[in-house]
Amino acid sequence: MSGEAVIAGIGHTAHGKLPGRTPLSMTVEAVAKALADARVEKDAVDAVFVKYPTSGFQSMFGQSIAEALGLQPRIGGVWDQGGASNISMISFAAMAIEAGQCEVALVTTADNPRTGTRQAYERGWGDDAVYGWFGTPAGYAMIAQRHMAEYGTSHDALGAVAVACRRHGAANPDAHLKAPLTLEQYRDSPAVVDPLRRDDCCLISDGGAAVVVMSAERARALGVPAPVPILGFGQGQTSYEVALRPSLTETPASISARTAFAMAGITPADVDVAQLYDCFTITVLITLEDYGFCPRGQSGAFVRNGAIELGGELPINTSGGLLSETGMPGMQLVIEGVRQMRGASHSQVPDAEVCVVANQGGVMHTHSTLVLGR
């Protein structure tokens, strides 16, 4: 079914500190913009897939959203894979459309950890909090330390990721953090949990985003102006406890990418631009390896000398990613992938024909991959 479903429309709120906004109100704004972008009437929608908001959750939240949208969906609900949810839901929507369960699906996410609570990112890890094991950054730091000790990966390799994302974010007028970052500034960034520094870590942003998914055939029939074909998708998952994983440095990104690339009929060499989930800089390095863009352990060498910046071998996160555009988990990467395939990015990669998007959740617990084409 490669290419049979499309992303027909994209929409998002402002990114950053948005006091007074709820996930519900931001979802409705993003949906209205996505439907306008697709030039599709609201009443064509018959499916609503919603990512679980981390700053606060109410039961049957998908139905609250459907009510606020004035819809009675045939299929959908709330999904929890952390930041991997968005691409996973896009793929479930595509499969549901293929199976005749619905025709036009909304996939939405919204959260307000900036003005609400970021407690989800700082709490103790269950029984192990007794050892001082707290917070999302430490989970990634544990993986980063193993990668550095096992492969000799340097702080500057992590820094190259931050520098690239911040450079691209600085060119994006909608970015939450528009200040570029030099490698020297990165080296002076305050330590949080060694080996990670402040500038290795995700922004905490309020915001909402939505996309419209339908079949390519339906998009043609409805006169959707700029549909972007979904060439492939995949997912992968591993254990809850970081400590229990057989390997800290190979993640479910590996099987997710193999599944998606096989469906799309591509290899890493076919990819012109990538949007790789950058909640923490180490995530990008490991994703580059798991996806096969470079050999295992070699991502530190791969990202040197601007290779992942605009004009380099594999430009990534061309709107700034989670380190610069918005900390909202994942959908902004899908939306930027769509802009790249439409030729409409603020940091457009010339003649880009294939864009890979990576989403992941928890501490590399879950992963999902999307391959977009033209």
Binding site: G124, G126, A129, G132, W133, V192, D194, E241, A243
Partner: protein, 144 residues
């Protein structure tokens, strides 16, 4: 000190049993009677073959380092005065992995992949915990 109390989940009955042994200085883990798998944290069934036939075994206390972090800020008031402190993924010689701390080192000084460790059973407040120290006479590669 009320704000410094660590909020921990109510221990499961099996975790309570494991902590009771630890309070007596014995670090225990579960071993499957069907497939020989050894595991922590405690669960009702073997996570490899799903058998409910298992027994507690006492760990030798020998272990090695898998990875580590050093907190430069405290996420909870109980740890404010310990910063910088390490948290380490430890693999017991019998196989199970756990989250722990390595005592007697400054931050991460001396920690390395496969560095040899020895159990130190102690308490965090009222709660029995399994911490470790670097094994005397072993270098960072684990060779004695």
């Amino acid at each position: 000190m009320s704000d410094a109390t660590i909020d921990l989940p109510e221990p499961s009955p099996l975790l309570a049993e494991q902590r009771a042994a630890l309070a007596e200085g014995r670090l225990t883990f579960q071993r499957c009677s069907e497939c020989e798998n050894a595991w922590l944290p405690p669960r009702d069934r073997c996570p490899r073959c799903l058998s409910d036939a298992w027994a507690w075994e006492q760990a030798s206390g020998g272990a090695r380092v898998i990875s580590w972090v050093v907190y430069r800020r405290a996420y909870h008031p109980a740890f404010a005065e310990r910063v910088p402190y390490n948290v380490v993924v430890v693999e017991l010689d019998e196989g199970p992995r756990l989250i722990s701390n390595v005592l007697g080192v400054d931050g991460a000084e001396g920690l390395a992949i496969d560095a040899r460790l020895t159990l130190v059973a102690e308490r965090e407040g009222e709660i029995p915990v399994s911490r470790f120290r670097l094994t005397d006479g072993a270098d960072a590669t684990g060779e004695s």
